[in-house]
Amino acid sequence: MFLKDALRGIARGFRKRRLAALLWLLNLLLALPVVLPVAAHLRRQLAFSPAGDALLGGFSASLFQEAMRAPQSPSRAIPLLFATMAALALLVNALSAGGVLAVLQGTGEGPLLRRFGQGAGRFFGRFLRAGLAAGLVGGILVAILGVLFGASERFEDSAWEPMRLVLFLGRVAIAGLVLVAVLTALDYARIALAAEDSHGAVGAYFRALAMVVRHPVATLGAWAVNAAVVAGVMTLYAGLTRNWTPSTGAAILLLVVLQQLLMWFRAIVRVGLWSTEIDVLARLLPAPARVADDAALETIAAS
């Protein structure tokens, strides 16, 4: 069931290409302030250096490090830039989620940008509160996991050599599952808030979290399918770039275009996930929410 839901959602995502392009653009705008100082520094270091041309033949860890530790390197500022970007991304996430849901659920009027903007503004406060609730839950769960993982350290000293790896993978899997559950619940809470136009953001989050816990296959399954699609495409990209070292200007341009097309594709899949989650919520939530969602789905179908 969740496979069908997910694939149907991705198909809808493809129909909402312009919305996805908007998400891609936001992503790009967030990334650029972090990357541009580094890019400018790399240009200063590499453009006049014949030794830098070795990087056209493939990545060299030592050469890249030498470039990044040169005077005037922004490498010390990168952690701060990254942290700022992450904080901004979480805020923009709260904004864009409203915009995406407004478009998908058919609220608002006018052209895409206007509907997106209206949704973003209308739900920002509630979505942010839901996000903070998710952060709180996430923090508590991290603390609990930290205690559990700490307790599991005594099993590391084992004569069975793979034990350390098994424990590590187990921890990663558990932490990953918890993180995905917390974030998926946030999606569902936001969908419900938008559909019901209600204001109880924190309550909505906990109801959504309870729903995710009660229906893990339906909710996390859809996420897993989308993640697998993205992973598959990224694996193809990795395979391509492993055997392709673009060194001419045209080839590098082609690489840039390909990378940005992939980011657009990721945005399409994300829109598809939202769409799938609207379906799933409509199926799992009681009648009042369903009415709202059915209306939304009819609007989507008509669009």
Partner: protein, 681 residues
């Protein structure tokens, strides 16, 4: 043909029968003999030992005392110098809680029964730490005259620590190193720059390895029969006991240490390095030419290789053995044949990696993970790297017995340099993973930064500023030797290393001895090179900071000259510039680091003009070279030197080329975008 054959056959047979490496000393001076009987108690993790030590005075001094190392006492408590310096953490390994180790000498007598135990004192020559018991001194009732000898009988027990800093136990795995009371080195006046003779016997420090004299070892190891045992030297006897134990007897001469290991889980893999099969005639010929020695002198010897590997690492057995063979081959061809009949490689048990990556005479410990058994991680050649490196210590530490306490670069640095050379001829890269390649030398380059300017390489291993021992013992000397090679050329450098090894095989050279050999073989005084890169702090970073070419605009205005007054307008000047097309090029160089070595700079011009070479003199902190000629300077390139900490500023071109920066900036952008997408965008 028959008479010719009859005439040459004896010569040919003589050549084949001639001992390998005729220029190399066959035997070490026998300063010490150890005859040891040791019994392992695996349940208590304890050794019960007895040894007869014969020490021969190698000096012209009358020696009144003997100094011993009791290395295991480094792990006795938190008060030891080793613990204070390491904080219980070394080589990314933590000392186990309450996993202490120590040695108790229970009896110490002369061969005639005179008791010396009461006169034994603990010494702390390096830091005066009264709680450190890693060095003991015994005053002899009768001093040992020049050329004389003394025989001691010592009984001791040793509590092994949980594996830490190379030695100890982990469950049923035992790596027994630095385990018996061991004499220091009596250095006669003149050796390693000593003004007067004396004992060189340092405390066990966190950042130090060892120093000892050559001699003969005969060790009887008694363990429960279920254990598989490996040890220094060939096994000469196996004696089953009546109490469920077996005694293994190993003997080896011309070595300065003895180590052994025991683990019931070891799988024993045996192979042989064949001097005929594993080295081609062409490789022998090339090596002989490279090091400028007769063919007979580069001939290698067969070596019996024993790999003691953990069962779940068996798929990597061939890799370990092949790496050992690569080491025996290339180190042997370049520096001199490996003279011992055996080599044992030990794969430590899970959780005992603190015992890995260590060298003892004819026995080395490697270290791997089951993860490297299969694709894709089998392309990480860590087991090969470690095996080659530890084998290489047979040459730099083993046969050239440098003082690792005081001049660690002479073993670790030389060996890191040599390891990378073997890596380079044996493997395409040390890591090949999903298109990403990592070469062994890159790690050293990545460690070489401006923060390395505070220590000098030639420093006692406990005297470096915090965190600087590893770089200054391994990486910087290796980069320095690479730089020396770039300066002298590969062939001369190969002959320098060969000559140094030949001259000091079974000897105890100092840095100064190496400087002298290098200068002698290179035919030039290299003392300034070593003064700057080994004896002084500072980094090497020469940079081309400017390469610029502008069209020369002729003089304008009312010009007076021998031909009278002439007016040149700006328009006329521009036209003349176009017709004549002269360029004024400027190349500027700067020394950003403290090290100032002469270096050749290649200047390239456009229009097919031949490149020009100039020397950036060591006396100058900067230089500006100007040219006025028809061709523009397109680039200036400083000759590559591994020690230079920034390759990117070693050369500069006049016109920018943004492709590399764009290509990797785009990929960085892509990565950051992925991270943002992960945050829900």
């Amino acid at each position: 043909v028959a008479p010719l054959l009859r005439a040459t056959l004896p010569l040919l047979l003589l050549a084949l029968a001639a001992p390998a490496s005729a220029a190399l000393p066959e035997r070490a001076p026998e300063v010490v003999d150890y005859d040891i009987q040791v019994r392992l108690d695996p349940s208590e993790k304890r050794l019960l030992g007895r040894e007869r030590v014969v020490w021969r005075n190698p000096s012209q001094d009358t020696v009144p005392d003997l100094w011993f190392h009791l290395y295991l006492n480094a792990f006795k408590s938190t008060r030891t110098t080793f613990y204070r310096e390491s904080g219980g953490r070394l080589r990314r390994d933590d000392m186990a809680t309450d996993g202490w180790g120590y040695t108790d000498v229970t009896s110490l007598k002369l061969a005639d029964g005179t008791d010396l135990l009461k006169s034994m004192t603990y010494e702390a020559p390096d830091d005066g730490n009264g709680d450190d018991q890693t060095v003991a001194r015994v005053v002899l009732p009768r001093p040992v005259p020049p050329g004389g000898s003394v025989t001691l009988d010592i009984e001791w027990t040793a509590q092994l620590p949980v594996v830490f800093a190379r030695t100890g136990y982990k469950r049923d795995f035992f790596m027994v190193g630095q385990w018996f009371p061991k004499l220091g080195v009596y250095e006669p006046a003149g050796r390693r720059g000593r003004a007067a003779g004396g004992w060189n016997c340092h405390q066990f420090h966190a950042n130090s390895e060892f120093y000892a004299d050559y001699g003969r070892f005969r060790v009887e190891i008694t363990v429960p029969s279920r254990f598989v045992v490996g040890a220094t030297g060939p096994r000469v006897e196996t004696r089953p006991g009546t109490d469920g134990t077996t005694t293994y007897v190993h003997e080896q001469r011309d070595v300065h240490d003895f180590a052994w290991t025991a683990d019931p889980k070891f799988v024993e893999v045996k192979d042989t390095f064949s001097a005929e099969r594993d080295v081609t005639p062409a490789e022998y010929a090339a090596a002989a030419e490279l090091v400028d020695r007769p063919l007979a002198e580069v001939k290698l010897r067969d070596v019996a290789i024993t790999l003691l590997i953990q069962p779940n690492h068996l798929p990597q057995a061939r890799r370990h053995v092949q790496a050992a063979k690569n080491g025996i081959k290339w180190y042997g061809l370049w520096y001199g044949a490996y003279p011992y009949p055996t080599l044992t490689i030990v794969d430590p048990a899970p959780g005992a990696l603190g015992a890995g990556g260590m060298e003892y005479p004819t026995l080395i410990t490697a270290g791997t993970s089951f993860l490297f058994n299969r694709w894709p991680l089998d392309r990480i050649r860590l087991p090969e790297e470690v095996t080659i490196h530890e084998f290489g210590h047979q040459f730099w530490y083993g046969m050239v017995g440098t003082n690792e306490f005081e001049e660690s670069w002479l073993d670790e640095g030389f060996n890191t340099y040599s390891t990378h050379k073997v890596d380079a001829v044996s493997y395409p890269a040390m890591m090949e993973l999903f298109g990403f390649r990592f070469f062994a030398y890159e790690e050293e380059r990545m460690g070489n930064g401006v923060e390395r300017r505070f220590d000098r390489v030639r420093t006692p291993s406990w005297g470096y500023s915090p965190g600087q021992y590893g770089f200054n013992s391994y990486s910087r000397p290796s980069l320095a030797l690479g730089t020396l090679e770039a300066t002298l050329g590969q062939t001369t450098m190969a002959r320098v290393m060969r000559t140094y090894h030949e001259r000091f095989r079974f000897g105890h050279p100092s840095s100064d001895d190496f400087y002298a050999v290098a200068s002698e073989v290179a035919g030039r005084d290299l003392r300034d090179f070593f003064r700057q890169v080994i004896e002084s702090p500072g980094v090497l970073d020469d940079a081309v900071t400017e390469v610029e070419s502008v069209r020369v605009r002729p003089d304008r205005g009312v010009l007076e000259g021998p031909e009278g007054r002439r007016t040149v307008t700006s328009k006329d000047a521009d036209q003349a510039a176009k017709d004549g097309a002269l360029y004024r090029s400027t190349v500027q160089l700067r020394r950003l680091g403290e090290v100032a070595l002469p270096v050749e700079v290649t200047l390239r011009f456009d229009g097919g003009a031949p490149p020009e070479k100039r020397v950036f003199e060591p006396g100058a902190r900067w230089a500006r070279w100007r040219y006025e000629r028809k061709e523009r300077v397109v680039s200036a390139e400083i000759a590559p030197r591994p020690l230079d900490l920034d390759r990117l500023n070693d050369a500069r071109r006049a016109e920018p080329d943004g492709r590399a920066a764009t290509r990797w900036s785009a990929s960085l952008l892509f990565l950051v975008q992925q991270a943002i997408a992960f945050l829900g965008m």
